[in-house]
């Protein structure tokens, strides 16, 4: 029998054994705490334990499980809330009360619940890995498709009648080429650290529409893409992630609260059950799965939570869904790696982080993608990872290494957050490499003018940035009127367009069409005013009419479903400016 030799926080060691394999799941101690093998040599096996080791003694048994750390995949995942190793928190609360105890053994998915299953294959059908053999409605918006385990294939020799089944009931039997019969239930197991396979990667060319102007218009993300949201504390990382989880047009959201606040998870639970998804008309919880490993829960499970989340996402991708993962925050995950690495006395690289930090990060982000599945469907996993740089310094290792593996970088800015400009995404420091990939989509689905308009909008901001250098030194009064106009127009872009109010019923989610119309109106204002200024009309005459303020408030004044009002406003701009010109020439 293998027994505990040494204990140091979440790291325990077993001596003189060859029974364990790398990344195998084990049960440690009398309480049978779940752990994972992280190092093996002929002298000792090192195990990280996903729970608190208080009270453990040397000499307690350690049992191998024979399989790597895995999750159960089947109906019952969506609308649930799990801890970092897929244990349902509601069931844990039923067993141990408000505070989480140790060594609680609960099955990941409800084994007694009956699902309304439709078997979609018949005897004689040839199935291979990924083929769909049954379907059941999991929530009002997600139909669960049971797929053959990727490593299995064979001919169907028996199917159950359509009807109500539990997750462990056999609904189909297949015989493989060696003549072995496999019982297919509604669920399967998959190791969390191994990416699920797919047929091929497809090119990325569809946006993940989020309804957030600064993202959709200026810094878009594609379905199957990767984005990082770095920002110091209080800059709105969590707020941005919540907004995306609420409004983006993915089919399913996997929200990983990795080492963050307990109250935030409670907030998501509460808020998402009240909020209605504008596309399906159903509660947002019907498309959301939450993984909560709050900052005071065991650190090793924090490391696992990221992998658990992405594995769940890949499983639904294989069914042909588009998934968006919010990982809040990847820095806490990196710190968990550092903490475990320190306990193992590994040689640290930068700032105490282990040397394998970059490879772990890249492995994680590479699991995103837009793919064609074995069963012919297309699905995608989009990863949006928050980064919490220490000291708000973007040159620290986690931010820098993340930057290398993501193609979209939304830098949150303290100065903007202090001025309560939300989302506080800094348009100068951020970038999206997807703008070119998505050009075609915007041209076909929104307007051919979308891309040129965006370019002009960005130019106004860039121009303003240059002018501000001068203004900071000598004030804005000395600038000529056309440059003053750039500054005024940039203010309209910043306050009226980029800034978005998450608490306003219309402004919290803005469809692409309205984003486009807003751009058009702002540019119309700029062009019309510039024309007048070039004719010698003082800019102050035009700003005095209050037309700039009118345009700033279009986000509130024009409801999302009354886009006709934009034409009216465009006329108003033209009339106001020509009125000023007339009055001016009259005076002359």
């Amino acid at each position: 029998m293998n027994t505990v030799f040494s204990i140091n926080g979440p790291v325990i060691k077993v001596r003189n054994t060859k029974d364990f394999s790398m990344q195998e799941m084990v049960y440690a101690g009398e309480k049978r705490l779940i752990g994972e093998v992280i190092a093996v040599n002929d002298e000792e096996t090192t195990i990280q334990v996903y729970e608190v080791t208080t009270g453990m003694k040397p000499g307690e048994p350690v049992d191998p499980s024979g399989m790597p750390m895995s999750v159960t995949l089947g109906p019952g995942i969506i609308s649930n809330i799990f801890d970092g190793i897929e244990r349902p928190l509601k069931q844990i609360a039923d067993i141990s009360g408000a505070f989480i105890g140790e060594g609680i053994s609960v099955s990941a998915l409800d084994e007694d619940k009956l699902w309304d299953v439709t078997v979609t294959v018949k005897e004689g059908d040839m199935l291979s890995g990924g083929s769909i053999y049954a379907e059941c409605p999991e929530t009002p918006v997600v139909a669960h498709r049971c797929m053959v385990h990727p490593e299995l294939s064979g001919q169907v020799i028996w199917t159950a009648e359509n009807g109500k089944y539990r997750i462990n009931d056999t609904v189909c039997k297949i015989k493989d080429s060696e003549g072995v019969t496999h019982d297919l239930t509604l669920c399967q197991k998959w190791p969390i650290k191994q990416p699920r396979p797919f047929a091929e990667r497809l090119s990325i060319n569809r946006p993940l529409v989020t309804g957030q102007r600064v993202i959709d218009t200026v810094l878009p993300i594609a379905k199957g893409g990767t984005a990082a949201v770095p920002g110091g504390f209080g800059t709105g990382k969590t707020m941005t992630q919540h907004q995306l989880a609420k409004w983006c047009d993915a089919d399913i959201i996997v929200y990983i609260g990795c080492g963050e606040r307990g109250n935030e998870m409670t907030q998501v639970l509460e808020e998402f059950s009240h909020l209605i998804d504008p596309r399906s008309g159903k509660a947002l919880t019907d498309r959301t799965v939450l993984i909560a490993n709050t900052s005071n829960m065991p650190v090793a499970a924090r490391e696992a939570s990221i992998y658990t989340g992405i594995t769940l996402a890949e499983y639904y991708r294989d069914m042909g869904y588009h998934i968006a993962i919010m990982a809040d925050s990847t820095s806490r995950w990196a710190e968990a790696l550092r903490e475990i690495s320190g306990r193992l006395e590994e040689m640290p690289a930068e700032e105490g982080f282990p040397a394998y930090l970059p490879s772990r990060l890249s492995e994680f982000y590479e699991r995103a993608g837009y793919v064609k599945n074995f069963n012919g469907t297309e699905g995608s996993v989009t990863i949006i990872g928050a980064v919490s740089p220490q000291g708000s310094d973007f040159s620290e290792p986690v931010t820098q290494n993340t930057k290398r593996f993501v193609r979209c970088f939304w830098a949150l800015d303290k100065a903007l957050a202090y001025a309560r400009h939300y989302p506080a995404i800094n348009w100068n420091d951020s970038y999206s490499e997807y703008t070119d990939d998505l050009e075609e989509y915007y041209e076909e689905n929104v307007s051919p003018d979308f891309i040129p308009y965006r370019r002009r909008l960005s130019n106004i901001l860039i121009e303003e940035n240059k002018l501000m250098e001068i203004v900071k030194l000598i004030g804005a009064d000395v600038l000529p009127d056309d440059q003053k106009l750039v500054i005024e127009a940039a203010r309209v872009v910043r306050v009226g367009f980029l800034q978005q109010n998450a608490y306003h019923k219309d402004d919290t989610y803005v469809p692409l069409e309205k984003q486009f119309m807003m751009m058009r109106t702002i540019l119309k204002l700029y062009d019309t005013t510039l024309e007048a200024v070039n004719k010698g009309i003082p800019l102050a005459r035009i700003t005095d009419t209050g037309i700039f303020e009118r345009v700033i408030k279009i986000k509130y004044d024009i409801p999302n479903d009354e886009l006709k009002l934009f034409d009216k406003l465009d006329n108003e701009i033209a009339e106001t400016v020509s009125g000023v010109i007339k009055a001016h020439s009259h005076k002359k």
Binding site: G232, R261, N263, L269, N296, K414, A419
Partner: protein, 463 residues
């Protein structure tokens, strides 16, 4: 029970025992010296028969042969009962007020257990502190953890006392609240200041004090907040009381942790602090909140002094990532005589958005707060421009901002330490100050509300 005679190694607060057969991780040990005195310790590492103990009261006077050690077979526990209020304890949770031991109703592990997110109740009820800058701009919510980021010599203690005195944390009856106060590495006279202030405001009988002064052992300093929070959780969730926990000074706590970590020979992270500082601080700060099915609540106000006033130092930095906002004090404001010197822009309450507005404070609260923030941010821009080109050269708009900034600091931020403003007073004051600016500058508020609240004639009293 087995006794182990002598030690194998002594290193800082750590001692090593050899040939131990039955140690369990994290259990408590009692070390008896030849002269009869007793010290407590805790198992922090086990390698087969070699056991590392952390000694709470320090290792002075210990030698390799003058000790007898017993392992107690249970983790560090604290006796709990409703008699806790009005008592004073050491950092390790032993009574030091001469009133004798606590008759325990139960014992609880001081490390606590993580609160299940599904059992939490989202905090929504605001606490009126009577301090304008906090109530209007960084509202404290019952069940929140809202730290004060301060610097040496700033008035954080005075502010904490004012909050304790004025905070309407209790329900209407007023019977069910208590303050848990943990001092970690603070000076004797600071602890005394708190004691006197509690006494003067008549709350001393409702205060549970844990004192670890700056000359007390560092291991007890690490235990002090854990004991305090164990007491707080017990009173809140089992006795249904509303508890306000004040932890001061978290920087001293973190330094104690660093000292302990380095004597254990651990690999240091940033500025020598251990790599697990985040997890460790989180295990304290996360012990705030409201639990489904209990009437009580734990609200935390940790106080920390930023070394060299640097907000990016690991302690304030990691704290800010865990807590639900922060109140930042500013030396510049303090020097110009503003009390409380709350730096408005970096201060934030994350739970504020759901605990203010109609039904909680007043419908116009969030508009007023947003506009004050936006306007005060412009003040900073105007000031930095003025420092280059001089105030005379500024545009009229910038001049208006400069004037607004001055009046805002003088009338809104500044208040007496015994001045208790109602939320109505505070918000009205905010609107009146905003009326110093031209109406076109108020771009965060819709026209209808502006029509009601914009009164330049009321702003005249400030000039």
């Amino acid at each position: 029970m087995l006794q182990y005679v002598g030690l194998k190694e002594i290193n800082g607060p750590l001692v090593v025992l050899d040939d131990v057969s039955d140690a369990s991780y994290d259990e408590v040990a009692e070390i008896r010296l030849e002269n009869g005195s007793k010290r407590l310790g805790r198992v922090v590492q086990i390698d087969g028969k070699r056991v590392v103990l952390q000694v709470f009261e320090g290792t002075r006077g210990l030698s390799l042969k003058n000790t007898k050690t017993r392992l107690m077979g249970r983790p560090m526990e604290m006796p709990l009962s409703s008699e806790l209020t009005g008592r004073v304890f050491s950092g390790a949770g032993r009574p030091i007020d001469g009133l004798g031991e606590i008759t325990a109703e139960k014992y609880a592990d001081i490390n606590g257990k993580p609160l299940n997110p599904v059992s939490r109740k989202y905090p929504r009820n605001y606490i009126n502190t009577g301090i304008s800058s906090i109530d209007a701009l960084a509202t404290l919510i019952r069940g929140q953890k809202l730290p004060v980021f301060s610097g040496s010599g700033l008035s954080h203690n005075k502010l904490a006392v004012q909050i304790v005195r004025q905070a309407k944390i209790a329900e209407e009856s007023g019977e069910d609240f208590a303050v848990v106060f943990a001092a970690m590495g603070v000076k004797n006279d600071v602890a005394d200041y708190f004691r006197r202030s509690f006494e003067e405001s008549g709350v001393l009988s409702r205060v549970v004090m844990f004192l670890n002064l700056s000359n007390d052992p560092i291991i007890e300093r690490i235990l002090a907040p854990k004991c305090a929070l164990t007491a707080a959780e017990y009173l809140a969730f089992e006795k249904n009381m509303h508890i306000l926990v004040i932890l001061t000074d978290m920087t001293s706590y973190s330094e104690a942790l660093r000292e302990f970590s380095s004597s254990k020979g651990e690999i240091p992270g940033r500025k020598g602090y251990p790599g697990y500082l985040y997890s460790d601080l989180a295990s304290l700060y996360e012990r705030a909140g409201i639990v489904e099915g209990s009437k009580g609540s734990v609200t935390q106000i940790p106080i920390l002094t930023m070394p060299n006033d640097d907000i990016t130092h690991p302690v304030p930095d990691l704290t800010g990532y865990i807590t639900e906002g922060q109140i930042v004090l500013d030396r510049g404001l303090d020097q110009t005589g503003v009390y409380p010197p709350v730096a408005v822009l970096p201060s934030l309450s994350r739970l504020m958005k759901d605990g203010i507005g109609e039904g909680y404070t007043r419908a116009d609260h969030s508009d007023c707060a947003n506009q004050l923030f936006a306007a005060y941010a412009k003040v900073q821009d105007a000031r930095s421009l003025a420092s280059v080109i001089g105030e005379e050269e500024l545009s009229d708009m910038d001049k208006a901002y400069i004037r607004f900034g001055r009046m805002f600091e003088k009338y809104f931020l500044t208040q007496r330490s015994d001045e208790n403003r109602s939320i109505e007073e505070t918000l009205d004051l905010g609107w009146d100050l905003l009326s110093l600016l031209p109406i076109s500058a108020l771009d965060r508020v819709d026209d209808k509300l502006l029509g009601e609240k914009y009164h330049p004639e009321r702003a005249e009293r400030f000039i």
